[in-house]
């Protein structure tokens, strides 16, 4: 499915949002969103606070289901070509294949090993070898294995903030999702930890499709291949990152990038 494997045909987008409206109760949060995310690309969602970037992100793995009276009122969200709101979609399977990392690092107060193995365990994996292997693979991907391999049984809360967030990434990729959603993963971290996670994202793009919400435009430039700019619930512009930042088509995008408003 990778573009490299079959360069001639255009692979289908892994995530596609079509004409989507989204409401919290009676207030509309997203208007007519159209978005295509391709395999193995990093897509950044940027925009001022309250513009609906997180809401859009949470539509993809249906985390908005947890919010009472929040719902998609028009259009559809397709992941791997399947409408996620179809009645025959099993939420647990959807979320297994669309992982998520949250703004606040929130490891369970369990051992590092148990944190990473959590996703596999709830999906019924009992084989110790499989679990061991998955833990090592995920921690390696998250650039934590070398640091932590000798203390896998230590409590995850003993880790530093940056390590905790990378552990959360390891936990999210342990189930080998196709898409990894990241909701401002660096906003609570210091610059060095942020840098580490940004480096990590380039690595992760080899294996996963990453969609990241960020309020930091420089971060979007550094990590993403595509950028979507949202404003007041509307998708203003969606383009390759370089293009959007150097030569925006929309006046609104330009104004935002220049810092005229935020």
């Amino acid at each position: 499915m990778t573009p490299a494997a079959n360069p001639k045909s255009i692979p289908p987008p892994v995530v596609q949002v079509r004409d989507m409206d989204f409401c919290y109760g009676t207030s509309k949060a997203l208007f007519d969103i159209n978005l295509k995310v391709e395999y193995h690309r990093v897509t950044a969602l940027i925009g001022p606070s309250g513009c609906g970037k997180s809401t859009l992100l949470r539509c993809i793995n249906r985390m908005n289901d947890r919010v009472p009276s929040a719902r998609v009122t028009k259009g559809e969200v397709l992941v791997k070509g399947k409408n996620v709101h179809d009645t025959d979609v099993d939420l647990t399977q959807l979320r297994k294949q669309v992982g998520m990392v949250f703004q606040k690092s929130n490891p369970f107060p369990k051992s590092i090993y148990e944190n990473v193995a959590y996703g596999l365990r709830i999906h019924g994996e009992k084989n110790k070898n499989v679990l061991d292997e998955a833990v090592e693979r995920s921690l390696t991907h998250a650039a934590l294995w070398e640091e932590l391999k000798d203390r896998l049984n230590a409590n995850a809360l003993a880790l530093s903030g940056g390590q905790q967030q990378r552990l959360c990434i390891a936990r999210a990729i342990a189930t080998v999702p196709d898409v990894l959603l990241m909701d401002e993963p660096c906003s609570a971290l210091d610059p060095i930890s942020t840098l580490k996670i940004e480096e990590l994202m380039h690595q992760l793009a080899h294996e996963f499709t990453v969609i990241i919400v960020t309020h930091n435009m420089q971060q979007a430039v550094r990590v993403s291949d595509y950028t979507a700019f949202l404003h007041l619930g509307k998708l203003v512009e969606f383009a390759p990152t370089e293009e959007l930042f150097t030569n925006p088509r929309e006046k609104l995008t330009e104004a935002y990038l220049r810092g005229t408003f935020s």
Partner: protein
Amino acid sequence: MNSVPTNDNPFAGDNSGIQQRETAARWALRVGSYIVVLTTVAIMLHIFVKGAPVVFRSQWPFVNTQFLTELPATLHVIEDQQGNHIETDVNGADAVKMKLGDNFRSEKTISYSGGGILGPIVGTALLVVVSVSVALFLGVACAIYLSEYAKHGKFLEMVRLAILNLAGVPSVVFGLFGLGAFVLTAPRFVAVPAERSVFAIPLGFTTLSFEGWDTCVLSGGFTLAFVILPVIITASEQCLQAVPQGFRETSMALGATRWQTIRYSVLPFATPGILTSSILGIARAAGETAPIMFTAALAFKDKLPWQKDMLPLPADASIFKHWEQSVSRFLGIFTESVQALPYHIYTLAAKIPQNEYAERAQHGSVFVFLVLVASLAASSVLLRKRLRAKYRW
């Protein structure tokens, strides 16, 4: 413009009554607190001074073993011509009288004040075990449902309010409820329904008859469970709410179902608090008198719940039959009525003529009771400390 500094104190207070009122308020609050503290200390001291001599001995084994290991009995006090008092039980009375012969002057009997209080201790323990098991199961289930599943809204608020109000219902009302619900109408399996059965559902091999469980540990335990249920529900819900929402979100985002999320990333972190509150529930259940008066407790019983007249094992007893009888004997414990500490204290204090011997038994019982409750409270504090250190986030 800057004012010229003077030698006057710029922060001098005005001489209105503010300062005096401040002092008066502080002293009023302080005196109130002192009254509370002093009263508590006085109660504790009184119980300790009067109760400890009954329970403790100055010689090995330092504890009045008779008081802790014997069932309550009638105390016989025989006085001789010299005014000496000899205490004995009903079996020893005649021998003492015989020995005294002409020296005998008078004999007094004081109900329930002889022997020990093993019966009430055992009864209270059984009641607590049953009530806490039932209340924990129902309470935690209810708390999980209210906190994790139920839709937020007016109805949920009303349910919460109702539960809180349940905590304010007088305990004697629970006693009457238990009498009506568990003693007289709860369902049980019987071969032939009793005459008073509310209604009976024949099931072929047996009959489910709503004829109640009689006064027994089970009835009393269930009644007590409903007394402590509001406390356990409220506390458990708070403990569940205290688990960060992020744990639930993360777990869900990893593809866990709602129950998996609760089971693996909410309950383990709420358990310490739930256990702590349930231990306080134990103290409450152990102390209630009114709910068990009509449902489980007897003023006096000369047997422990497992000392029952049972058919002797048949001669050809196979292991299986023996096992069956052991189980029925064990279950039989819970269908016996028992003595309980708070009710025993009530009996000693209000149902028999007061004299020094009755008072001694009262204080001993109260002391033992207080030590039990205090140690439960202490263990709850310890447990909370330990578990908190383990599950901190």
